[in-house]
Symmetry: C2
Subunit: 355 residues, 2 copies
């Protein structure tokens, strides 16, 4: 069976060497006669897997001792609530760039005042500025780095006095950033970093020190920092796979090398989308995502026709998010250039035939 | 490489056919040209996996429409807090049978009054009665069905007016019970049901209706009931593996058949432990666990000597929990009879030599 062209928004395509290592490890890890799913989280073998993943993550992100890397679970949706539970003492600023920002705002409002210096609602979340007016007294500023639904990406992060908190679920490790500038980063692993079931959290000491008291044990970040993500049983197999993805990124030449390929892939796609009137890319050029490319066609019939055609060509996951319709190609780190080329050819063909 | 004898307390040994199916599915699921880790949680392929797992779980447990089966994450430790957040309006009764009960009590105390009709603290958690005096007005009664650390197991569950809530992490699906008698059951999957990273929750409608208001979205059980565990991205691969384990249990002849083997395995072990003065089984005979067999030896030196010997015989995970010391053999559903036999032979040999 040929590898399918996988454009799912997440869970999404993973690198072939990662899947091969995972398949091998699941039945017999390191010739222990046990699979990596069968070993204790207190065993030296798992501690090694965990520590290596933390070290590789820090290396790839250029983080020092001030930052802690946690492997939790519950997805970014759980973080929408945990961040304000831990750090929202009075008020926080949220930049609203779409669906995931709104969800983060909704949860935060249960715990304190939320100011929204900017919302993209009026422009259908197709654009946003680079500068915002923040509240002087905000406990933190929250941004979503990439919006999978609208296909937008924050290219320049705001300078803030308050710690910058970022939902980086859909573009973490896809491009070089000054990661140490962030007070808090969270991301579901299932787009660029591994399987669903692992949530990566990066937390800086200055924010950790401001954690509110009286929280349940599992809902305090300090619990997980103190116990290196093993206060209770972590998702062992998921952490193993994230570790394999990090190794793969290093093998590609690191984040900078991966970013270059991501720009090439996205560039190819936007080029063909810009070429034909038939295609209507959703995001403003300034904020086009290199991870999720979203567009409409001139009619819904043509959209359906293209989706059926793509399916015949072994292409999966091109339907736009149910909340907006249209089409979307998610082209994360692990999406092969060949898949993007195949999609571009199909679009080119479809564009020229229907123009 | 020979299969090791895996006595880890969890993550623990999984059935060989499950690991083989998992290894195959991780690179190419159902000849889709995509691994099961790479498919969307909204795809029909995952919805099928999920729905089948729910149906099989209900069939194995004899549950009807009154009960909902959820696949969440965060482990039982997260449930220690979520249960009282959702259902502790005024007060609840907790039977304290050891380490995990205490943790559940500690979290519940943040949300309301906790009564403890019985604590095994004074007998070192080696025994407990079958009848308790409950508070008439309790919102619920909480019990731990099996204590992995002490090696005790609740053989008879108390009759209660209030809904019975049970942490069944370490013996779920290991024996026949009237599962529908429980208002709420929770269990980390990594002992009898799959890999770490999936938490199984069974919730009955009458309790669900009493859910407190004002909770964050991800912390409400109703969210997950309404969305069939897919409000956000569930741990796709973990749910797939749990599904494979359920299929395996059905292939064994169901819970009753698995229980018979579990009793045989535990019987063999307790027989040899009772045979020699050298061995001091921890649990009172009435409450001996069929899942976690715990014992001391007459000296710590002999314990270390035996652990070294077991390691030479390719046996893993026999060291007692760090909080109590001694030895422990975790012999969950998937632990092969051959592994228990091998351990019994080694104990027999060690017992006769050192008596």
């Amino acid at each position: 069976m040929a590898k399918a062209h996988n454009f799912f928004a997440g869970p999404a395509v993973l690198p072939k060497p990662v899947l091969e290592a995972a398949a091998k490890a699941v039945t017999n890890y390191k010739d222990l006669g046990m699979g990596v799913v069968e070993i204790s989280h207190r065993s030296k073998d798992f501690v090694e897997i965990h520590d290596q993943a933390v070290a590789d993550m820090k290396e790839l992100m250029g983080l020092g001792d001030d930052h802690h890397v946690l492997f939790l679970s519950g997805g970014a949706s759980t973080q929408f609530a945990l961040v304000p539970m831990n750090f929202l003492h009075n008020s926080a600023d949220f930049i609203d760039t779409g669906r995931w920002s709104i969800k983060a705002i909704d949860e935060a409002q249960m715990f304190g005042n939320v100011n929204v210096p900017f919302s993209g609602k009026d422009n259908g979340y197709s654009a946003f500025p680079t500068k915002f007016e923040f509240d002087e007294d905000a406990d933190y500023v929250h941004v979503t780095s990439n919006n999978t639904v609208a296909g937008t990406q924050m290219k320049v992060f705001p300078e803030t006095n308050a710690p910058l908190v970022c939902d980086m679920s859909s573009d973490m490790l896809s491009r070089e950033l000054n990661f140490s500038d962030f007070g808090f980063i969270y991301a579901g692993a299932q787009k660029n970093m591994g399987p669903a079931g692992v949530t990566v959290v990066i937390i800086r000491n200055d924010l950790l020190e401001k954690q509110k008291s009286g929280l349940p044990t599992m809902m305090r970040y300090s619990t997980h920092v103190k116990k290196a993500s093993a206060y209770n049983t972590p998702p062992v197999y998921g952490v193993f796979m994230v570790g394999q993805v990090l190794k793969w990124i290093k093998d590609q030449g690191g984040v900078k090398a991966v970013e270059k390929v991501n720009e090439e892939k996205a560039g190819m796609l936007y080029d063909v989308l810009d070429k034909y009137e038939l295609f209507k890319p959703h995001a403003h050029k300034d904020v086009r995502s290199t991870m999720n490319v979203t567009w409409r066609m001139s009619t819904e019939e043509l959209e359906s026709e293209f989706l059926a055609l793509a399916s015949e060509h072994n292409m999966y996951g091109l339907k736009g998010h149910r909340s907006v319709g249209g089409l979307r190609a998610s082209i994360y780190n692990a999406c092969p250039v060949e898949s993007v080329k195949a999609l571009c050819e199909l679009l080119e063909d479809f564009g020229s035939k229907n123009s």
